[in-house]
Symmetry: C2
Subunit: 334 residues, 2 copies
């Protein structure tokens, strides 16, 4: 008899993230099945339990009290959540969408807060779709897990159990659950994920304006900063547009930095001292925080994220989550 760590998991959408999640859960012996519109046949040929009928998988999820994972792009989330409401009205729901406020708005509109915990694995590649999915994608990655609902309902035992389950989902695939409120999540990913995408697209344009000579002379620094520009443009568009509220002020902050560097470089004599020194210090601080994990020579990766053990539902547990959030720490549920 196999012991499962998770309830059955029903994944809606099998692109890079949903597909990789299915592969990992399957490889670890968990019960997992899913829905995809276009890649069902290919996924079945590889031995996965996949349907192209969302109604069918959701009815089954309802029967089996599965955890439903919404893994479609933001623009498709409303329609999928409507189907969850119709066919799987008592299932727990989580998601892996890259912005959390717009998803939470849809959840609240549908009155699903008590059975929803938001998620966002901070992993990916510049490729997309089922064919790009891979085992091991989430190893060592942060998996943001939202807990806003618990602030209002710290004693909801069922929700606490759902929170535990989503943290365990992350853990089963090798990720680290980082508790975060919806608002702080969207602000943080605007800085460290969506801004780098905007930067990459604009840099690709400026590099391309330099023609074949510039391309021929480009090396590691250009390649590193433009790699994510090969992401499918509709995905970049979708994540930036749905997080525009957080991204616009971050872009303003970024443009102001560049503008002041530009003015210092246009002065006589030109100076880059301020940006070079403060940027380097900021980089060292960021690197130092993640130190241990990157430097370890042991095959067992040691996380640099501070860990805090939490018993969901116990007295003071939401205060603990808020403390972990402020440290970017990971939660270990017991």
């Amino acid at each position: 008899m196999t012991t499962h760590q998770l309830p059955p998991v029903c994944i809606l959408g099998l692109g890079l993230i949903g597909g990789s999640l299915m592969r990992d859960l399957h490889a670890r012996g968990e019960r997992v099945y899913g829905f995809t519109l276009h890649s069902a046949r290919g996924a079945r040929r590889e031995g996965f339990d996949v349907s192209n009928s969302v109604e069918e998988v959701l009815r089954r999820a309802e029967d089996e009290r599965a955890l439903v994972v919404v893994a479609v792009p933001m623009r498709a989330a409303a329609g999928v959540l409507d189907q969850v409401a119709e066919y799987a009205p008592s299932c727990w729901v989580t998601d892996v969408v890259s912005v959390k406020q717009p998803v939470y708005d849809l959840i609240v509109e549908r009155g699903m807060e008590a059975r929803y915990v938001g998620g966002h694995p901070m992993a990916g590649t510049e490729f997309s779709g089922w064919t790009a999915s891979q085992e091991g994608l989430f190893a060592g990655a942060a998996w943001a897990v939202t807990y806003d609902y618990a602030r209002e309902h710290p004693d909801d035992a069922s929700w606490a159990e759902l929170f535990t389950t989503v943290c365990r989902l992350a853990s089963v695939v090798g990720a680290e659950a980082v508790p975060v409120s919806v608002g702080r999540h969207d602000e943080a990913v605007a800085r460290v994920s969506h801004l780098p995408h905007v930067i990459a697209e604009a840099l690709a344009l400026v590099g391309d304006r330099g023609g074949t000579l510039a391309q021929s002379l480009s090396a590691g620094s250009f390649r590193g900063a433009t790699r994510v520009a090969s992401t499918a443009p509709e995905l970049v568009q979708n994540m930036c547009e749905t997080n525009a509220e957080s991204l616009v002020p971050v872009l303003d902050e970024y443009i102001a930095r560049l503008q002041s560097a530009r003015d210092a470089l246009a002065a006589t004599p030109p100076s880059m001292q301020e940006l070079a020194e403060s940027g380097h210090r900021a980089h060292l601080r960021m690197a130092a925080r993640k130190g241990a994990r990157r430097e370890s020579v042991s095959p067992v990766k040691i996380s640099s994220r501070p860990v805090m053990r939490v018993h969901p539902g116990a007295a003071g547990w939401v205060t603990q989550l808020t403390q972990i959030e402020s440290l970017g720490g990971r939660v270990e549920v017991f």
Copy 2:
């Protein structure tokens, strides 16, 4: 008896670039020695022919008719060229400095044009100094080789021979000689090298403003775009300041792209379509140009840079160089 492909090579400055060049030439059996102020003892312990007296190595270079490679940061170039003028008045001179106009100005001031060919290997890591130097750093890299002098003096046989030697130097260490005029070089590297450094520093600052949570949630896109922010700040400062004339207009172009993306994102409804689509197209064009080299599964790397065989000094050779330059191609001398 060993056959050498190059005259003795005298490298002034043994940091990441100069040191790696010394290691490669030594490994290939060429005659190479050099000067460094701070790392001479360590380099000698590794078996390299290194002195901490610039006068000593330059007098030896003059005796042996060596090729002198100036591999110091731009701010030290004037002093070093003065010493070359004094102690090695008849040696050929090249350099590996990341900007070419300021070096050329120093060359012209000292009347050294007829014995100088500028160079710039487009390779590096985010580390610096002799201890960061490594064999193989230049494999497959472009090595920009300037030829402005030949436009005025296409029939100077000695200069043509020097040009041939510098191309061969690049080739011996596995790099590809890309002919380029001083002005076009500085404009192109502002786009594909100096701008990515500015971007990385500013992004590190904006990420760091997000605190430990943002750091914890940061992943590949952030890491890729900020990697070069760990470069020693004085090197970044030096290369950006000395290329300010080309970098400022490129920064203006970049900021304008970001500003218009910001405005479209702040509109109702927010849109990222234009930047996402045009940036992705630009990225595909850049990637397509370098296609073959990256996709090849053969252990023998196939360059995607178009190649043109040139006989330096032959009729029409400068016109050929201009054609290759416009294609970002590599030159093969015969």
